[in-house]
Amino acid sequence: MADVRLLTGSFDAAVEIERFLAANGEAGGVASFIGRVRPGGGVEALELSHYEPLTLPGMQALAAEVEARWQVTGLLIVHRSGVMLPGEAIVLVAAAAHHRREAIEAVDFAMDHLKGDSWFWKREKRADGWHWIEPRERDFSDLARWDEKSAN
């Protein structure tokens, strides 16, 4: 059963990984990805907004798809919303599995879909105020990788 959380406050990614390792002691492999607000580039703060009736159900549906697609014995998806400062964690995905490849691909798939296909809207605060961030072409190409794999 996946652990899916949409948080409005900050979280400690290393502590979450430690707990995940302890909670999934039977798994030989644990892969993870942590996304943080990148310092520099003139970004003073980042705000992610969500739409409650869609965002959390969307994350839960993604977790279910990951669990259907890979043999993971544990899955953790934590995503921040609200205003974040440079260096703070935005997202953590961790997957536990018997086999290395399952764990790594589960994290990779979940991250691609969280980034390119989930209901978050993001804006950055710079010296001249807040700016909405538009979709990036790379997110669509990252997502398309999985469709190609399904077609094989």
């Binding site: 009736p53 869609l54 209901w119 809207w121 993001k122 909405w132 997110d139």
Partner: protein, 80 residues
């Protein structure tokens, strides 16, 4: 009961607020027709998805609104 409108992302800037209530109308076309022209154009763009009561609408032209519905306007999500 009025309709409750929710504007996500940059649409909140166009609407001047994240939410708004409007008198009930039976269709999305009628809803858009009753708004300011600039907002109506922004919400009506093809790349804007619409969710009614938490469900994304597949065909906005065919969708029938009911009193009290929550209608959310969803621009493309931001990149990573």
């Amino acid at each position: 009961m009025p309709l409750r409108l929710v504007f996500l992302g940059r649409l909140a800037d166009v609407a001047g607020a994240g939410e708004r209530e409007v008198a009930a109308v039976p269709s999305i076309a009628a809803l858009l027709a009753g708004l300011e022209p600039e907002l109506s154009a922004a919400l009506g763009a093809a790349r804007i998805r619409i969710a009614v009561n938490g469900n994304v609408v597949a065909d906005r032209a065919m969708f029938t609104l009911r009193d009290g519905d929550e209608v959310a306007f969803l621009p493309p999500v931001s990149g990573g």
